[in-house]
Amino acid sequence: MAWETVIGLEVHVQLSTNSKIFSGASTSYGAKPNTQACEVDIALPGVLPVMNKEAARKAVKFGLSVESKINQRSVFARKNYFYPDLPKGYQISQYELPIVVGGHLTIDTGKGEKRIGITRAHLEEDAGKSLHEDFHGMTGIDLNRAGTPLLEIVSEPDMRSPAEAIAYLRKLHTLVRYLEICDGNMQEGSFRCDANVSVRPQGETELGTRTELKNINSFRFIEKAIEYEVERQIDLIEDGGTVVQETRLYDPSRNETRPMRTKEDAHDYRYFPDPDLPPMELDDQFIDSARQQLPELPDTKRHRFMEQHGLGPADAYQLTSDKATADFFEAVLEQTRGDAKTVANWVNSELAGYLNETNMVIESARIDPGMLAELIDRIEDGTISGKIAKDVFRSMWNGEGTADQLIETKALRQITDSGELEKVVDDVLSRSREQVEQYRGGQTKVLGYFVGQVMKETQGKANPQQVNELLKQKLESGD
């Protein structure tokens, strides 16, 4: 039987505010345990939450960017359950009236574009962390993360393959960084995903029973977890079994999912409106000002790069997948004589290659747009060849200087002086009698040999075009 996969995603996006959603404590990552948890975060008796408006502004920016409805009156509720890293015994979250409702994100499926619906996005606070190592049979609790603002973005079950799910996640990941509402750091848990997965016979319109895969922290694992889970469900049904609605954990070391809890032992969270927080009212001015802060969004930028800069879809896609890269590209383009395609090549292959290799982001590279522009200009004006430029680029990457400095100190300037070049060419020809004969006998392919010799003599600094011309001229004139 042919099966159809149905996937819906819940993404927890950590909003990059300076302070927590309901307290003034810092949100920065990696501090010593419990040093960034104030009396509100550790839920001392008597403390009260105060809403951080910046978190709301970031949520509104997201909603506007995916054409959602913004609820100008949204309500915080308490989700009650006991867990040691949940200090109050409840999580403050939006339940019945979330800040963002509806909207959509368009993904590229490889076969064209597809619209993925967004059900809602709501604000909530993160919990702390339980640390099970180093405590000899006990559990340590770090509440630094408790109270960090989260935007939980819930999609419609619109994705039909793991690849579509990943395309959606990448798109969302790009978007939240464009909006500067999240740093997107998956290792630090700033962008976390739960996947709801079910299968059904091709053509069936009712949804099958779903399982929820929890907290998977890389695109690759998400893809693998869904793949595994789809296969598990199909095997189960084909063997006459039924899928049980449950929460499952993905174990990357074994590439399998395991049940965590079933529907039967699901919590009754006893949601009710938090009496400590009046409904959050956002006036038109607040929403307008958030709208003003919206940057050019990835799709718009990509189309503009294609139209304005004449780039192909692949180049445009790669350059705009990250706002900093797109900004870098445009900054180089503005400062160089080189054309867009040349700049795109440098950014997408050379620079991207080094960044990948060293696992760095473009903002922290030593090479800034001005430096790359200068390098490209030196190729354009014939000072160095493209090949030499790659060496210069490596030196620039290593912090050895700018293009002009390196060309100077390493004497990399192309030999364009025709007298000087002619001397080298003559030398080469005079000691290569045999090859000259061959050439003149019609084997013109040996020209490459002469070019190579000249380049060797000049340590690659000769202008290849000039060398070619000069050689042909000398060989064909017959003297």
Partner: protein, 453 residues
């Protein structure tokens, strides 16, 4: 104070803190910079967090808890230069009307030591009544300031919800809790409210409403004041002895030109059931943080995490607190939420609407604070419902968020009773004005129980 230890009004006294504050107050008085209440001794209900001073909320589960911060109300009293005498006894987590649910034992009513002082601010009421301090702070969720003030013969003010910051006040039912004062007179209440009232950015439910000088209108004329008497507050539930006192008290106000009119609060009988869904629901969630993980009592003997939770809470909470946590958990559960919690919220709106309509007809509402005078210790402990009914006249005020004042109205035999005045939102000045005019013509608030003069 040692002499009066038998009252059990205090859970903690900290002589060193008191002396230091007294010295600081002396310096303020000497060097200038003193404020109206600088140097005045005050006791704080043990529900307010005090930095470095044990804060138990009357519970075993917080019997070792020393807060690292001060409640906003406490901070304001410190800034005023007031001298803290100690932390007063109270019903556990403010759940009770007799101060008998305290882990630290019952408080005795200074007028009759076999009787309750009322609750939950029983220690505050007893300490003011016995003149152990000039005034005390309290909190009122369903009558916890007014009822003990009435049963002890002192003045108690529950301000409008949002008038006094709740920051640092251990939460019982967040939408009902309001800090206030227990004092020897309406005038004292006005001066103390000046200190503690005002917007607090740390409390999202506090209101940005200007704070008037509550002392400035105390002597205003009340000629022509329209006082509404809800017929529901004078029905068969009210004891005849208390009714006589209330009628006499109202005559005093009539002599000042006030006009009495009959009004109707048709949903009054719903306030007790409504309250006993909303308050426990919120409490069940508010008290979840007492789990033995980060502070407070933790059971000494447990198998695993769940066992630790269960034993800590089973051992750390008293029966009344457990009863309310269970009621609240039930009311919020899936399948019952609509029938209980949502329904109670609807009733709450009806009850509030009753008051809004009443205030179209009258300026303030008056009636008894409690249906009876103080009962004997142990008389109602086995019958929670009869205990709950003691708050029948006070609860609706919390459900509506209104301000209300209880002033001593006279004595039924040897036991005091209170006249309750309820006003529209932010009418504290008016209520204190009426209370003060009443006290200018009566002596009840000046009476001190034998042995405490």
């Amino acid at each position: 104070m040692e002499r009066h230890r038998a009252l059990n009004a205090f859970i903690t006294v900290d002589p060193e803190l008191s002396l230091n504050q007294a010295r600081a107050a002396d310096r303020m008085l000497k060097n200038g910079g003193s404020r109206p209440l600088t140097g005045i001794p005050i006791a704080h209900k043990d529900i307010f967090c005090t930095k470095g001073v044990l804060t138990t909320c009357g519970s075993k589960i917080l019997s070792n808890f020393v807060p690292p911060y001060d409640a906003t109300l406490i901070k304001r009293c410190y800034e005023e230069g007031m001298v803290t005498l100690g932390k007063t006894n109270m019903d556990e987590f403010a759940m009770g009307s007799s101060n008998e649910t305290s882990y630290f034992g019952p408080v005795r009513n200074p007028w009759d030591q076999f009787r309750v002082p009322g609750g939950s601010s029983g220690g505050s009421a007893a300490s003011v009544t016995a003149r152990l301090c000039a005034a005390a702070t309290g909190t009122d969720t369903g009558g916890s300031i007014r009822q003990p003030a009435a049963l002890c013969g002192i003045t108690g003010l529950k301000p409008t919800y949002g008038r006094v910051s709740r920051y640092g006040m251990v939460a019982f039912a967040s939408s009902l809790d309001q800090g206030g004062v227990l004092t020897q007179s309406a005038e004292d209440a006005a001066l103390l409210l000046n200190v503690i009232a005002g917007f607090d950015p740390l409390d999202s439910t506090s209101v940005e409403e200007p704070v008037p000088d509550y002392g400035s209108k105390l002597k205003d004329d009340i000629d022509g004041l329209k006082i509404g008497l809800p017929k529901q507050y004078f029905d068969e539930g009210l004891s005849p002895e208390v009714e006589v006192l209330i009628r006499d008290a109202l005559r005093v106000l009539e002599d000042h030109g006030a006009v009495l009119i009959d009004i109707d609060l048709p949903n009054s009988e719903l306030c007790v059931p409504c309250y006993y869904v909303i308050a426990p629901s919120e409490a069940s969630s508010n008290l979840s943080r007492f789990d033995g993980v980060r502070y407070g009592y933790r059971s000494e003997d447990y198998e695993d995490l769940v066992d630790m939770y269960m034993r800590t809470r089973a051992e750390g909470f008293g029966d009344e607190v457990k009863r309310r946590i269970m009621i609240g958990t039930y009311a919020l559960s899936a399948g019952y939420y609509d029938a209980y919690y949502l329904k109670a919220q609807k009733l709450r709106r009806l009850i509030t609407h009753d008051f809004e309509r009443a205030f179209e007809l009258c300026d303030v509402i008056a009636g008894p604070t409690t249906p009876t005078a103080a009962f004997e210790i142990g008389a109602k402990t086995s019958d929670p419902i009869s205990m709950y009914l003691n708050d029948i006249y006070t609860i609706s005020v919390n459900l509506s968020g209104l301000p209300a004042l209880s002033v001593p109205a006279g004595f039924a035999g040897d036991l005091p009773a209170g006249l309750q005045l309820i006003g529209p939102y932010f009418s504290e000045s008016r209520l204190l004005n009426i209370g003060h005019r009443f006290q200018m013509d009566t002596e009840w608030h000046r009476r001190i129980p034998g042995g405490f003069e």
